[in-house]
C-alpha cells in the first residue's frame, strides 16, 4: 500500500516539482551572513522549522537586530508566510519591499515571488501580471523557472499557444528539460499543433532516463502518446508507444489497458487478453484494473468463446460486488470513526509542511480507498491545514504551561525582592560615595604639594619614614649634641644617605603615586553610575516585575482563546476532509455500480445470443 501510494504522490510531485522549488531560499544561501539573528532564522528555516524561523525573524526584526539583511529578511518572511499558507501576509511583505526599495534586482525577485504566490493560490491572471513586471535582473535559477511558471499559468488559463511559445524559447538546467519537454508537448497538442506536440513527447519518450523521476516522466509521455494515437484511430502506433511504458510504475496499469485496446482495435482479441489478464492480478481499486474486468470477457466474446465470456462477466460482477461491499464498510467506518486522525497516525509531527505529504497510510478499511483522493492537491492542502492546526494547538499548550511557570517565577522574584530589600537598603546606607571622593581629593592635594615642593620625604616608604623620624628626633634632642664627634658624624652620614636614597627614588615614586591616583579616579568614575544603576534597579524592579506579571496575565487568556479557535477550525477542517473523502468513496461506488450495469447488459446479450443461436452479434464494449 505504501509504495503504491508513494507512486501516486510521486506522480503529482513530478508535475509540480518546478513550482515547489524554493528558489528564494536558494538565493538566501549566497554570501556571508552578516546579522547573527538573521542567520539564526535561516538555521531553523534550513531545518524546515518554518514556524520558529518566522517567529525568530519577526522578533529580530522588531528588536532592530537585523541591519545588513533587511531586504533578505523581508523576502524570507514573505516566503515563509507563503509556505505557511499565509498568502495575504506574504503579499503584504512583498509589496512593502517594492515600496521601500528602488533596487531593480530586488524588484524583480519580489515580482517573481509575488507571481509564484498568486500562482499557488490559483490566481493565474494575477500571477502572469506580476511575472510580466520582471525586467531581466533575476538570478539564473529564477530566470529559468520563470518561463515555466508563466507557461503553467497560461496553460491553466487555456492559453496553450502562449505557453508553447514560452516553453520553446526556454533555457535552463538540463535536469529540468524533461519536464519542460513534457509540458511543451502537452501545450502544443492542446493548442492544436498535434504534430509538433507529438514530436516533443516522442523525443521525451525515447530519451534515456537517468533516474526514477525521468523514467516516470518518460512513461507518462509514452502513455499520453499511446492514448493520443488511439484517439486518432492509429492503434499500431498507439501500441508502439504504450509498449515502451514500464510494466511497473505509476503509468503501467493504464498502459496495459491501452495495449489491450490497441490490440483489440487491430482485431487481435487474443493478444488483448494477455495485458488485460495481467491487470486482473493487480490492485482492484485501480480504475484500469476495474475496466479490465469487463474488457477480458468483451475480448472473449469477440473470440466467440461465449461460455468463457459469461464466466468472466460473472467473475467481474462478483468482484464489483465484493468491492462495493468493502466500500460500504469503509463508508460506515469513516462515518463512525475519526478518519482524519486515523490518516495521521503514521505522521511525524516534527516534519515541516513544505515537504510534507502523507506517505504512510495506516491500513484501515477506509484509508485503503483514499490513496487516490489523498494524492489530490485539495485534500493534501486540507490535510496540511489540519496538521498545522494540530501543531499550533500543541504549540499553544506548551506556551500555556510555560506561561504558568513564568507566573510562578515572577511571584518568586517579587518575594525574593521583598526579602532582599532590607539587606540591600542596609548596604546602600553605608555607601557614601561623597566621602570617598573627598578622601581622593585630599590624597590628590597632598600629592600635588609633594610634587610642587619636591618633598622627597613625603613619598618615603614606611620604613624610611620611621628611620627618618628617628634621626630627626635624635637631631632635635640634647643627646646627640652631647655625643662624641664620631657619633654625630655617623648620624649625619646616615641622614645624608637616607635623604639621598629617598631623592633617588623620588621620581619613580611620584610616577607610581600619580598612576595609582589615576587608577583610583577610574574606579571612582565607575562607582557613581554603578551606584546609580543599583538605586534605579532597586526603585524600578518592583514596577518591572509588576509589568511582567501584567504581560503574563494579558497573554494567558489570549492563549486560551486561540486554543479554542484552533480546536474549532480543526474540527471544521476535519469535517471538510471527511466530506471530501465521503464524496470520493461515493464516486468510487457509483463507478462500480455503472460497471455492474454494463456487465449485466453484456451478460444478457450473451444469453440472448445463446438462446437464439443466431449469428454472433457484437457484445457492447465496456463503458459504452
Amino acid at each position: 500500500m505504501t509504495s503504491r501510494l508513494h507512486r501516486f504522490l510521486f506522480a503529482t510531485f513530478t508535475a509540480s516539482a518546478l513550482m515547489q522549488m524554493p528558489a528564494w531560499a536558494q538565493e538566501l544561501t549566497a554570501g556571508e551572513v552578516r546579522d547573527l539573528h538573521f542567520g539564526e532564522a535561516l538555521f531553523h528555516f534550513y531545518q524546515n522549522d518554518y514556524f520558529t524561523s518566522l517567529s525568530r525573524l519577526l522578533i529580530a526584526r522588531e528588536a532592530g537586530r537585523i541591519i545588513h539583511h533587511k531586504d533578505d529578511a523581508e523576502l524570507l518572511a514573505g516566503g515563509l508566510y507563503l509556505q505557511f499558507g499565509m498568502h495575504d501576509e506574504a503579499e503584504r511583505a512583498f509589496r512593502q519591499l517594492l515600496d521601500e526599495s528602488s533596487d531593480p534586482a530586488l524588484h524583480d525577485r519580489v515580482w517573481f515571488q509575488l507571481g509564484r504566490a498568486h500562482y499557488r493560490q490559483g490566481k493565474h491572471e494575477a500571477a502572469l501580471t506580476a511575472l510580466e513586471r520582471v525586467e531581466g535582473h533575476l538570478p539564473a535559477y529564477a530566470a529559468a523557472e520563470m518561463p515555466l511558471l508563466q507557461a503553467q499559468g497560461n496553460m491553466a488559463l487555456g492559453r496553450y499557444a502562449a505557453a508553447a511559445r514560452l516553453l520553446e524559447d526556454w533555457q535552463g538546467p538540463a535536469d529540468w528539460l524533461p519536464y519542460m519537454r513534457y509540458n511543451l508537448g502537452v501545450a502544443l497538442i492542446r493548442s492544436g499543433d498535434d504534430d509538433r506536440g507529438i514530436e516533443q513527447l516522442e523525443a521525451l519518450g525515447r530519451q534515456p532516463a537517468r533516474n526514477d523521476e525521468d523514467k516516470a516522466l518518460r512513461d507518462r509521455a509514452n502513455l499520453a502518446l499511446g492514448y493520443t494515437w488511439l484517439q486518432q484511430s492509429d492503434p499500431q502506433r498507439a501500441l508502439e508507444m504504450l509498449q515502451r511504458v514500464r510494466l511497473e510504475g505509476a503509468s503501467a496499469n493504464r498502459a496495459l489497458l491501452g495495449v489491450g485496446w490497441a490490440k483489440s482495435a487491430l482485431d487481435d482479441h487474443a493478444g488483448a487478453l494477455l495485458p488485460w489478464r495481467t491487470l486482473w492480478a493487480r490492485d482492484r481499486l485501480d480504475g484500469a484494473v476495474q475496466e479490465s474486468l469487463l474488457a477480458v470477457p468483451y475480448a472473449l466474446a469477440r473470440l466467440s468463446a461465449d461460455s468463457e465470456a459469461v464466466s468472466a462477466y460473472q467473475n467481474a460482477l462478483a468482484a464489483f460486488d465484493a468491492e462495493i461491499r468493502r466500500l460500504d464498510a469503509a463508508m460506515s467506518a469513516a462515518e463512525a470513526g475519526e478518519l482524519v486522525d486515523a490518516l495521521l497516525v503514521a505522521d511525524d509531527p516534527e516534519r515541516a509542511r513544505w515537504h510534507w505529504q502523507l506517505e504512510e497510510l495506516p491500513l484501515s478499511s477506509e484509508s485503503r480507498y483514499l490513496h487516490a483522493l489523498i494524492a489530490r492537491h485539495g485534500f493534501q492542502e486540507g490535510l496540511g491545514h489540519y496538521r498545522d492546526l494540530l501543531a499550533l494547538g500543541r504549540h499553544l499548550d506548551a506556551w500555556h504551561e510555560r506561561l504558568e511557570t513564568f507566573g510562578h517565577l515572577v511571584e518568586a522574584q517579587v518575594l525574593a525582592a521583598q526579602q532582599r530589600a532590607p539587606v540591600v537598603d542596609g548596604r546602600l546606607a553605608v555607601i557614601d560615595a561623597g566621602a570617598l571622593v573627598a578622601r581622593r581629593d585630599a590624597l590628590a592635594a597632598r600629592l600635588d604639594a609633594i610634587a610642587e615642593g619636591r618633598d622627597v620625604v613625603g613619598l618615603a616608604s614606611d620604613e624610611e619614614l620611621e628611620f627618618w623620624k628617628l634621626l630627626e628626633e635624635l637631631e632635635a634632642g640634647p643627646a646627640l649634641a652631647a655625643a662624641p664627634e664620631e657619633a654625630r658624624e655617623r648620624h649625619r652620614l646616615l641622614k645624608g644617605h637616607l635623604l639621598w636614597q629617598m631623592d633617588r627614588d623620588y621620581g619613580y615614586r611620584l610616577w607610581q603615586q600619580q598612576r595609582a591616583l589615576a587608577e583610583l579616579d577610574e574606579q571612582l568614575a565607575k562607582v557613581e553610575p554603578r551606584l546609580q544603576r543599583v538605586l534605579e534597579i532597586r526603585a524600578d524592579r518592583p514596577q518591572e516585575l509588576e509589568a511582567l506579571a501584567e504581560r503574563i496575565d494579558a497573554l494567558s487568556p489570549r492563549i486560551d482563546l486561540l486554543k479554542d479557535r484552533v480546536a474549532l477550525a480543526r474540527t471544521e477542517q476535519a469535517g471538510q476532509l471527511h466530506a471530501m473523502a465521503m464524496t470520493w468513496l461515493k464516486e468510487q461506488r457509483q463507478r462500480l455500480l455503472a460497471y455492474q450495469v454494463q456487465a449485466h447488459f453484456a451478460l444478457a446479450t450473451l444469453y440472448d445470443r445463446a438462446a437464439t443461436a443466431a449469428p454472433p452479434s457484437p457484445v457492447a464494449e465496456p463503458g459504452s
Binding site: 514556524f51 475496466e291 477542517q573
Partner: protein, 171 residues
C-alpha cells in the same frame, strides 16, 4: 464508453491543473488569520521570555556558524563560561547541514554580570583525513551593560588544509 475517460485530456488536466478548492476558502482565510495571530502571540511570548529570563543588561548569547566545512565535520561543542560548563551540544546531520548552508545557531543564551569573563569552546568532530579532532578556542571579554553577543565560527583554512576556529564579539 470508458475508453473516453482514458484519453489524454483527463490525464493532462490531472497533471497540469492544480487549483485550491473553492469550498475551503472561508475556512482557509480563517486559518490564515489564526496563524497570523499565533505568530504575533508567539513573538510576544518569546520577548516576554527574554525579558524575564535573560534581561538585556545581563544577557549573553553565544552563536555558532560554519563556513565551508571541508576540513572539519562537527560532532559536538562544549562551552565553558568562567571555567563552568554551560552547555554541551551534540549535532544532528540536519543541524550541521543547516549550518553549512549559512544558518547560525544560538548555542547558548544566559546571564552574566558586567565585568571580565572568559569563554572557552571545545569543538569535537572529524578533521582532515577523517581523523578524530578536538580543538579549543577562547575569548576574554568585557561584559558591559547591554546584551553581549559572541560568535564562534568554524571555517576552512585552505592554505594549511586545516579547519580554523574563530571567536569574536559582536557589537
Amino acid at each position: 464508453m470508458d475508453m473516453k475517460r482514458m484519453r489524454m485530456a483527463p490525464l493532462l488536466i490531472a497533471l497540469l491543473c492544480i487549483s485550491p478548492i473553492a469550498a475551503e476558502q472561508s475556512l482557509d482565510t480563517r486559518i490564515q488569520d489564526l496563524r497570523q495571530e499565533i505568530l504575533h502571540l508567539n513573538r510576544e511570548l518569546f520577548m516576554l521570555e527574554e525579558d524575564l529570563l535573560f534581561p538585556a543588561n545581563t544577557q549573553v548569547a553565544v552563536f555558532l556558524s560554519m563556513d565551508v566545512g571541508e576540513f572539519f565535520a562537527l560532532d559536538s561543542v562544549e562551552l565553558k563560561l568562567n571555567d563552568r560548563v554551560v552547555t554541551r551540544y551534540l549535532y544532528t546531520p540536519r543541524e550541521v547541514d543547516a549550518l553549512l548552508r549559512g544558518g547560525v545557531q544560538q548555542l547558548y543564551l544566559g546571564n552574566l554580570r558586567s565585568g571580565s569573563h572568559e569563554l572557552v569552546a571545545v569543538f569535537t568532530g572529524k578533521g582532515p583525513h577523517d581523523r578524530d579532532y578536538r580543538r579549543a578556542t577562547s575569548l576574554n571579554f568585557e561584559k558591559g551593560i547591554g546584551a553581549q553577543f559572541v560568535e564562534l565560527k568554524i571555517s576552512d583554512r585552505v592554505s594549511r588544509q586545516q579547519p580554523e576556529f574563530l571567536v569574536r564579539e559582536w557589537d
